[in-house]
Symmetry: C2
Subunit: 328 residues, 2 copies
């Protein structure tokens, strides 16, 4: 029965995978489940996969999902925390319009649902429990399918009029590469995994040698996941190296621009690619930032997310605690 | 005698001119004086000109500068409000190192001096008395010799670790034009008046026709002031138009990038060029922003500074009121 357990669920809805966790009252992870994000169908199919992931995590913790106290969801797109609706989640299949994701999961599982922006949720987890817990201000850079951002001012997330943190759509090169968002020259047009895969396919189609797509098929994937990029690097794949160097240049440039405006105490790198490759590229990103940083003699601290892969889902368990904006 | 009068002074130290005002207790301007910023010499010469401007404004108000309650100074460079020291004011002559500007003016005039960052001071004036007085958050874009910025969060200026607001050094084009700051591709490399003048001279030296330098000499100037740029536009000068269009492209791109990160309620355009040409170019800047704005369907409000030319000096009179950071 709903509320029986003192455990809470959290789900991180990503462009590639859905990560669910169940945590106990102390925040320790008691169960987890990871499922791929559907690549076709529509919002209902994604919502069903969310429910399946939550049930899997509850099962892993030895209980029924319906007995959880509540579940939080970190979602991409425009999230309306009050209604549970998600709109224009363009990295998810068939999700141009609005869909009541919160309501769907609540009805399917029968427990209270709180919903928040995926990057906000993950950055908040780093502020509460991870790499930013000693800092007053931070810039979260979530490097994955897209590049999201979280602006932390006086330990709180700054939302502006509701759309703050779109660091991936800061321009790094006027009239530059086409971005999945339809604009040009955005940081994400170079550094987002979706844009990188498009570029890799174009180069591959032009006859350029690469292990990327062989590795993808070999590992039963239908897209270039962060793990595939990592494997390609380990194989010394030149195209993968080149595209990641290009991504790092754009990241360093855009993050330095953001720091010139905000001058935060710490930059935290997370997201699928950030968790996987952040340590490997931390030095290169900071070197690139140094080219453009106004405070290059006294740069902000730089950290890879401490909660890693589970950070978004753990952050989602913090939603709906009562007084914050994610509560329904 | 110091403190005799209930009137306060304010001085805005710009790259081109020094504007001083004297205001009464209600904030009304009782006297003003404008003098050119010295183009050679060093910090002492600039400080002497500040004192002369203040004496002129006091005279205009019918009193002696030494009888003012206090004076506030808005200065470029790295300002240490606690000690009155200004360092690395690179748009001023011979000012690479530190100089105690506050102390110099205090000793010369014999009244208390408070000092703050020039753009902060001007943006604060717009928040208290001008275009942002109805808004909780704002982005100030101070378009002049350089391009400065002010980030307003919950009606307060956000300083980060002390260096926030450097919007002019947000990158708009990786590997782009050389900026006076020594880096490449900064917004200021295209939009700052210093960079624009350098480019105009290069084009002129290459034989390109322009009225810019003729107008400059005709009006007895030794640099391309905002007024000279305006006159050249009024003459239909093609090079001036071209360089201003280029500046507007960079401004729109950089400001949109900043808005994608912060999503402020309002963008306020000020500074020497902003005051002079802001209304003329407001539509073009907003159109350019629209190309890159994530919230292009619901853009932030856009306003030209309401206090205009005197805003920086009026803002400086607010310094040292007791509880804020500008007090010595």
């Amino acid at each position: 029965m709903a509320g029986d357990s003192d455990k809470r669920g959290g789900i991180d809805l990503g462009g590639t995978k859905i990560q669910a966790v169940v945590v106990d009252r102390g925040g320790e992870v008691a169960g987890q489940e990871k499922l791929p994000t559907p690549t076709d169908g529509g919002p209902e199919d994604v919502a069903e996969q969310l429910v399946a992931a939550l049930r899997g995590a509850a099962d892993d913790a030895g209980l029924d999902a319906g007995s959880l106290e509540r579940v939080g969801i970190g979602s991409p797109g425009d999230v309306d925390a009050a209604t549970g609706t998600v709109s224009a989640a363009r990295n998810l299949p068939g999700w141009e319009d609005s869909f009541n994701l919160g309501g769907h999961v609540r009805d399917a599982v029968g427990i209270p649902v709180a919903i928040g922006n995926d990057v906000d949720v993950a950055v908040r987890a780093e502020v509460e429990l991870g790499a930013a817990r000693e800092h007053r201000s931070a810039l979260g850079v979530w490097w994955g399918t897209g590049v999201g951002g979280g602006v932390v001012i006086d330990r709180g997330l700054w939302h502006g009029r509701g759309a703050a943190g779109e660091i991936g759509h800061m321009v790094v090169k006027r009239d530059g590469a086409h971005c999945p968002c339809g604009r040009r020259g955005c940081m994400e047009a170079y550094a987002g995994r979706k844009a990188m895969e498009k570029r890799a396919r174009e180069e591959h189609d032009k006859g350029r040698h690469t292990h990327l797509f062989k590795l993808m098929h070999h590992h039963g994937r239908d897209r270039l996941t962060s793990g595939i990029w990592e494997r390609a690097l380990d194989h010394g794949d030149e195209l993968a190296e080149e595209l990641l160097d290009r991504a790092v240049e754009a990241l360093g440039t855009g993050v330095a621009s953001a720091c010139n405006l905000l001058d935060p105490e710490v930059v935290i790198l997370g997201g699928g690619l950030g968790d996987r490759l952040g340590s490997r590229y931390a030095e290169a990103i900071q070197a690139e930032m140094g080219e453009h940083l106004f405070t290059d003699q006294d740069p902000p601290a730089f950290a890879v997310s401490e909660l890693g892969d589970l950070g978004g889902a753990i952050g989602a368990t913090l939603l709906g605690a009562g007084d914050e904006e994610g509560s329904p």
